[in-house]
């Protein structure tokens, strides 16, 4: 019952899910061409709903998340998008998704040139280990995305 170290074992189920679903999402939607491990189909669908048919380019979006979340119900997250935030060139919105939550949408944050900085911090719920995806819509119509994997530990002696 008591172990000295934390061992991360990727369960067989997770491995199958990663290889299986990933391939289907890339082939079917074609949004993330070139991504080795793609997001789930649900996230791709949600992104399409938010930003239309544009393919998000990687870059400019940074996600700050713990590698391992102590408790999935309160995971601190910060998203920052590189932008001069002027009236001519600013971040319009950032959409955050969790690819294995019951519903992929987490939040949408809307910025303006008066924001000064396209950075937001909040706390989110994660049902299990998964990828968190942030998609940024710029004022010039371009779309960028960033992604980070977070492990969620569940189980023990809670009390």
């Amino acid at each position: 019952m008591f172990e000295k170290s934390i061992t991360h074992k990727i369960r067989r189920r997770d491995l199958l899910a990663m290889s299986g679903t990933g391939v289907i999402a890339v082939a079917g939607i074609g949004l993330f061409a070139g991504e080795a491990m793609a997001d789930s189909a649900a996230v791709a669908k949600a992104i399409k709903k938010s930003v239309g048919g544009k393919s998000p380019k990687t870059g400019r979006v940074t996600l700050e998340l713990p590698q391992i979340a102590e408790n999935g119900n309160t995971v601190p997250i910060a998203v920052e998008v590189k932008s001069p935030m002027t009236a001519k060139d600013y971040v319009k919105a950032v959409h955050i998704y969790a690819d294995e939550n019951p519903v992929p949408n987490v939040a949408t944050f809307r910025f303006s040139p008066e924001s000064g900085k396209a950075r937001v911090s909040t706390r989110m719920r994660m049902r299990k280990s998964q990828n968190i995806v942030a998609v940024a819509e710029m004022s010039d119509g371009s779309v960028y995305m960033g992604k980070k994997a977070v492990k969620v530990t569940i189980g023990g002696c809670g009390g």
């Binding site: 008591f2 934390i6 713990p66 979340a69 102590e70 408790n71 706390r123 023990g156 002696c157 809670g158």
Partner: protein
């Protein structure tokens, strides 16, 4: 150039801080390790610590603010508020968080902070008691204990307290429940080890009432005791039972020297 961090409050539901820098409101040297004793803070992940460290981000401060409002609210037949006798900023109570539970001569036994609050409400204010795990009691204990934040835990275990300390220690060390486990087995013998996916701490009480991520709100130490007892499949004792007040004393002594962290944030 530095902007002051202002914490303002409306209706006790909202706290907003505005700053020119992403700073931490709380100052001072917190002692998280004293001798061989370590606060639960040291067993938490950096992400969880970061939630606690910033007063403007620590959700439990919503309850501290509510406690401040209740402190100044007139309640009961005597037409008084806590502030009526204790003053606006409570100088006389500013080490309560480090000292409780204490021996009450009139009762002839130990008294927890919750019990003292209700005693004062009844005798001095003619006000109804707060339920142990109610929003009001959690807010009031969070507020009062928070006044001692940074002070070293320092419960008295001398004189009349001796027999109660012994009872608390015996409870801590006695195996119970279907799983036949004692507090000691996890929190003394195995602190720092894993119990399945959880890292075991020393089970210190210096941050209570604690905002547990699991509860998504603050909770009292008696709530925690009940949870622990249920987890080893033992019948839990009641809130405010003599057993738990004595246990609370012993656990507080186990944390002697550690800073009061109320309100702490834990898993």
């Amino acid at each position: 150039m530095k902007k002051q961090i202002q914490g303002i409050l409306i209706g006790a539901a909202v706290a907003v801080g505005v700053s020119g820098f992403a700073g931490v409101a709380d100052a001072g040297k917190m002692v998280y390790e004293a001798g061989d004793r370590k606060s639960g803070y040291t067993y938490a992940t950096k992400a969880t610590q970061s939630i606690q460290d910033d007063d403007l981000a620590n959700p439990a401060y919503l309850w501290v603010d509510e406690g401040d409002a209740l402190w100044n609210k007139i309640d009961g037949k005597a037409g008084k508020s806590c502030a009526s006798c204790h003053g606006g900023k409570v100088v006389r109570l500013n080490d309560v968080g480090a000292r409780y539970p204490v021996y009450n001569a009139k009762l002839g036994k130990m008294q927890s902070l919750e019990q003292r609050i209700n005693q004062e409400r009844k005798e001095k204010m003619g006000a109804k008691p707060y339920k142990w795990e109610s929003k009001q009691m959690l807010s009031m204990t969070a507020y009062i204990r928070n006044l001692s934040k940074g002070k070293p835990m320092n419960v008295s275990i001398d004189g009349p307290v001796i027999p109660f300390f012994a009872k608390g220690k015996a409870f801590y060390e006695k195996k119970r429940g279907q799983l036949d486990m004692s507090c000691k087995i996890c929190h003394e013998d195995n602190a720092g080890n894993m119990i399945r996916a959880n890292l075991l701490s020393e089970g210190q009480s210096n941050g209570f009432p604690v905002y547990r991520l699991k509860w998504q709100k603050p909770g009292s130490i008696h709530r925690r005791f009940r949870g622990c007892n249920k987890q080893v499949r033992a019948k839990p004792y009641g809130y405010g039972s003599d057993e738990y007040v004595n246990l609370e004393l012993y656990v507080a002594w186990r944390g002697r020297g550690l800073s009061v962290e109320t309100p702490a944030v834990r898993n």
